[in-house]
Each structure stands twice: as structure tokens, then as C-alpha cells.
């Protein structure tokens, strides 16, 4: 419907939510048979041949001698990570969506992270650029490398991707220990939330990302994992994409107990006549999530899971 189609909705407008982007799985070159290769890729969680390749399969230089001092980070997840491991002062460029922490806001905004503006990035004279590993960014990665800038392309969609990205970034900036500490602390919080919600009944949840067309969260996204940890069950956990398009009729059939939405999305759902077809809407179970906290697979996932657990099971985290 046109009326809701153009409402500006900023949070979550980030690479990992764009469907149609296929992970670039590079298999171990040592394995000659394609079939074996697929099995190997599925079995081992690091998707590349070694710990030290990025998600376009390019080698990642180890820190120390050539430790980068001017970093442009073109996705919120890596910007948050850099600030968390104390490399914030080295960040000289970010996207309009990278608003955490407060110090990050003072970094120059170089525009969007998908098909980035190469000139704007180069104007910051970076010696390392971090970008989201998707087909749309391949040309940008090549152009930046041709200009002599180190590039690390990372596809951060799931919890495991975050851990891997933290390891690689820690290695690249020469501070693996602090990167490991940050990952440990996220994992520790997640484990705490998981144990608190373990025995509780699990409400079924529809995660509303966008409504024209209707886009939700499915198994390919870290948000699905956070939901599970927080004691909920995603009604679209059977779909493998990160953020598939679905029909309202199908949402009604799957009959979620709860709907999670950003503030604007929740307001539109509550005001809509068609969304009243969903039981959770009629019964007033539309819960507002802080999309600026929960939108990015990064260092605040522990906090995000805590907030989600609290929304789904009030009082459980006290």
C-alpha cells in the first residue's frame, strides 16, 4: 500500500538485511572434489581455507609491522567492534548508520556501505577499509585495493560470523587479546540469558522488519539466534534466508503469540486494519524493540538478548 511504503525507517537498514545476497563461500583449495568441498564447507564453521582470509577469500595481513592507523569501517557491526576493542581513535570513516558509541558519531560519515562512494572513502586516506562481503561490494573492494588500500570484506550475519570477524580484525589491528576478551564477554552474557530462559515456556514470535513488502527475520540472521537465546521461537525459523519476504496471510496462519517491531513499525501495525487479522495484534501483543540497539550483529548482542528476554519474559533477568 502506498501510504506505508515510503515511511522512512532507518534502523536495520544495513547490509545483512538485504535479501538476494548470496554468501561467497570459498572452499578449501586442497579439496579437489566439488561434492566433498560442499560437505567440508558445511561441516567446518570457518568458511575459508584458513583463519586468515576474509569473506572474499583474500588474505588478511597480520598486524605489527603494518598495523593500520586509519580505518574506514563501512558497516555498523565492525564500527562497534573497533570502538569496543579500543581502536576507536583509529576509525576515520563510517556509514550514516554507525551511531554507537557516542564517539563513533564524531567520525566522518562517508556514505552508505553497500556500493560505497570510493572517492569519499579514499578522501579519508585510509590504510584499511572494512566492508560487508556481498556481490554488490566486490567492485568496491577491487577499486580500493587497486588504490593501494588494504580491504577486509566480512559477511557478518550470524553469531559465529561475529566471532570470526572479531578474530580477524583483532589480528589485523594487532590486538587479538582485546578482541578475544570482547567476544568472551558477549558469549558470557548470552550464556547467562540462555540459562535464565532455559526452562521457560517459549512464546512464538513474528519479527517485523518492514511492511511493503512484508519482510521478517529467519534462520540466516543473528536476530533469529538472539530470539532463541532470549526464550522465544521464531515462526519463520524454518526459512534459511536472513530476511525473507512473506505474506500477511501466512503470518496469520503461523499465528505468533507476540510481534516484535521497531517503534515506527509497531505504530503502523497497531493503526492498520489489515494487521488486525493477526491474533497477536488484536490481543495487543505488539512489542517495541529498540532497533538501534538490536540491529547489528556486534558487541552489544549480549545487551540485545537481555532486552529481548526481558520483553518476552518480564522480570526474568532480575
Amino acid at each position: 500500500m502506498a501510504s506505508s511504503a515510503f515511511v522512512s525507517w532507518r534502523a536495520l537498514a544495513h547490509g545483512h538485511l538485504l535479501p538476494g545476497t548470496v554468501p561467497f563461500v570459498r572452499c578449501a583449495r586442497a579439496v579437489p572434489v566439488l561434492a566433498l568441498c560442499v560437505v567440508a564447507c558445511r561441516a567446518a564453521s570457518p568458511r575459508r581455507d584458513a583463519m586468515s582470509a576474509d569473506d572474499f577469500g583474500e588474505p588478511v595481513a597480520r598486524g605489527s609491522a603494518a598495523t593500520p592507523s586509519r580505518i574506514v569501517s563501512l558497516m555498523p557491526a565492525t564500527t562497534e567492534l573497533l570502538f569496543a576493542i579500543g581502536a576507536g581513535p583509529r576509525v576515520v570513516g563510517r556509514t550514516p548508520w554507525d551511531l554507537w558509541s557516542d564517539s563513533a558519531r564524531r567520525v566522518a560519515d562517508v556514505g552508505v556501505g553497500l556500493r560505497p562512494n570510493i572517492e569519499a572513502v579514499l578522501a579519508q586516506r585510509p590504510d584499511l577499509v572494512l566492508l560487508y562481503a556481498t556481490g554488490e561490494n566486490r567492485a568496491a573492494a577491487q577499486a580500493l585495493r587497486a588504490a593501494g588500500v588494504a580491504v577486509m570484506a566480512l559477511r557478518i550475519d550470524r553469531l559465529e560470523d561475529f566471532r570470526r570477524a572479531a578474530r580477524l580484525i583483532g589480528m589485523a589491528i594487532g590486538d587479538s587479546a582485546r578482541a578475544a576478551t570482547v567476544v568472551d564477554s558477549v558469549d558470557h552474557t548470552l550464556a547467562r540469558v540462555r540459562s535464565r530462559t532455559a526452562g521457560l515456556p517459549r512464546p512464538t514470535v513474528f519479527w517485523h522488519v518492514w511492511d511493503a513488502p512484508i519482510i521478517t527475520i529467519a534462520r540466516g540472521s543473528f536476530l533469529d539466534e538472539l530470539l532463541t537465546i532470549a526464550g522465544g521461537r521464531n515462526i519463520y525459523e524454518d526459512l534459511s534466508q536472513p530476511s525473507p519476504q512473506v505474506s500477511l496471510e501466512d503470518v496469520v496462519r503461523r499465528d505468533p503469540d507476540v510481534i516484535l517491531a521497531g517503534p515506527e513499525g509497531a505504530a503502523r501495525i497497531r493503526a492498520s486494519a489489515t494487521w488486525r487479522a493477526v491474533r497477536a495484534v488484536r490481543e495487543g501483543h505488539v512489542l517495541v524493540v529498540d532497533t538501534s540497539l538490536i540491529g547489528h550483529p556486534s558487541v552489544r548482542m549480549g545487551e540485545a538478548a537481555t532486552v529481548l528476554a526481558h520483553l518476552l519474559h518480564p522480570g526474568v533477568m532480575q
Binding site: 500500500m1 502506498a2 501510504s3 506505508s4 511504503a5 515510503f6 515511511v7 522512512s8 525507517w9 532507518r10 536495520l12 537498514a13 544495513h14 538485511l17 538485504l18 552508505v112 553497500l114 522488519v209 518492514w210 511492511d211 511493503a212 513488502p213 512484508i214 519482510i215 525473507p244 519476504q245 512473506v246 505474506s247 500477511l248 496471510e249 501466512d250 496469520v252 496462519r253 499465528d255 492498520s272 486494519a273 489489515t274 488486525r276 487479522a277 493477526v278 491474533r279
Partner: protein, 325 residues
Amino acid sequence: MKRASFWVLAVAILAVLMILGVSWGTVSLTPRAVLAALAGRGDRNAIEIVRALRLPRVALAALVGAGLGVSGAALQGSLRNALAEPYLLGVSGGAAVGAVIGVALGFSSAVALPLFAFAGAAAAIATAILIARAAGGRADPRVLLMAGVIIGAFANAAIMVVLSGAPANTMRSALWWMMGSAAGADWPQVAWLAGYTVLAGGALLWFARDIDILALGEESATALGVDAERAGRRVFLVSSLLAAATVAAAGLVGFVGLVVPHLVRAAGIRRHRALLPGAALAGAALVVLADLVARVAHPPAELPLGAVTALVGVPFFLVQLRRLS
């Protein structure tokens, strides 16, 4: 085909498709469950699916189809151009620009949006006709069509400029809307579109004799005492309003206005007093069918409605083009 049998067949096909449209969807319900839901009995979710989602959606699709069919028939007649239709003439594109501007200015109601769309549509069709005239007259149907294509391209560019700074998801919604969709239909929207369709369709029916005479050519019209210029302008304006109302309700749904009048004429119906209602029925049937395909082809996702109609319409357009040349 006998004319009487056309009417019986058209009404029957539309009725069957509307029943299918209410019975089928992403969620499969037994006929018994659908009947129970219509009566307000049985499972609450089934009731909601049938009464709150499918019924308004089928009604909206039927109205969009009827509006586009009538608009296409009136434009083809008055322009004496077998390839005229709102989408190809750039009218729908102009309407989309108008609607986007309306939304950007903060208007989003089912009442106001068609008016913005109408302003855009009227500007588009006026420009198309001016270009065609400057390029050597409306007599050659291909010139007008080319003008329409140019306007459509310009409209697309204008929308892209407006949206260039928008976040990825807004952009995606805009593109989705421009491909046409009846998803998200609700009763107030259906009521407003019905109002616009009845008003504009009624007006065109009122002008039916003028359209018949315009279809004979400007000279004959003058000889028969009709001010061809004025009559033509009235028909363009009202047809544009009708097309614009459908664009505001369901985005760009192309080729319906092209295909439908030809189908009705093939049944031997030539006079516009009968052709227009015939095009309304056939258009409604076509779009209800296209929306059904859009819903059930690839569940739980939906296809854009305009993509489905274009898949049917483009081959048809090529056949017509061949026949013309």
C-alpha cells in the same frame, strides 16, 4: 462469439475467479472452512484470512482491473490507437510521480493520494499528446506511443532522484509499489477506489457516443457536429483520473488496459456503450487472476502484480504491433 454469450461468459468467469481468489492463497483452506469463515464461524484465524485479507484484496484487484480496462478502452477509442493504454502512454508513470510527491509532502490517505496521482497523470498525458502533435500528428499511433514511453522513462528517473537518498528498505518498498501489488488492501481503500471507478467510469459511459464518433476520425466527428478537440480532451482527462486512482491504490499494473479492450472487441462488441462495461468485466477478471497467480506462485513470498500482468501483456503487445505494421 454471440454478444449475449460474451456477457454470460464474462460474468461467469469473473465470478469463478473471484470465488477462487477468496478460496485460494498462501494458506490452503478447505471449501467448507472458507464458507464457514465467510459466515463468521469456525477458526478465528481462518475468518480473518478470508474476511479481512482475501475479500478486500479480491475486491481491490477487481476494481483495479475494471478501472484499467475501461481507461484503456476509452483511450484506444478516442485516440484511434489500438496500442493506447495508461501504462504505455506514460499516464501510469505520471501518476506514480504524483503519488510519490504526495507521499513526500506527507499526504497518505486513500482520498488525497489519487488526486496527486491524477495531477501527475494529467500532466503526463497532456505532454504525450503535445509531443506527438509536434512530431507530426496523432494519426500515427506509434508516435504517440513513443512519446508515452519517453514520458514513462522520465517519470522513472524523477522517482529515482526523489528516492536516491532513501534507506535501502524504503527504496525497496518504492520499487515494490511501482511493480504493482494488491497486498495490504483494506475496506476503506476499496471503498474510495470504488467511488473513483464508478464516477469516472460513469462519466466515460456518458461520453460513450462521443468516443464512438472520435473513433471514426476527427473529420467525421466534425461532420457529425461533435467538437472533436473538446470531446477528446474530456475523455483523456477522465480516463487519466481513472488510471491514476488505480495507481494510487495498487501501484503500476501495466498492459491490462491494452489487452482487455481487444478481447472484448474480439467478441464483436464495438460500440463503446457496451465496450466499456465489457472491458470493466474482463479487466476485473484478468487482474483478479493475475493477483491470484502473484499470491500462490511462490509462497510465502508474493510476486509483484505488475510483473505478472506484463508477462501476459508483452507478448500480446508484440502481436498487436505486428498486426499494425
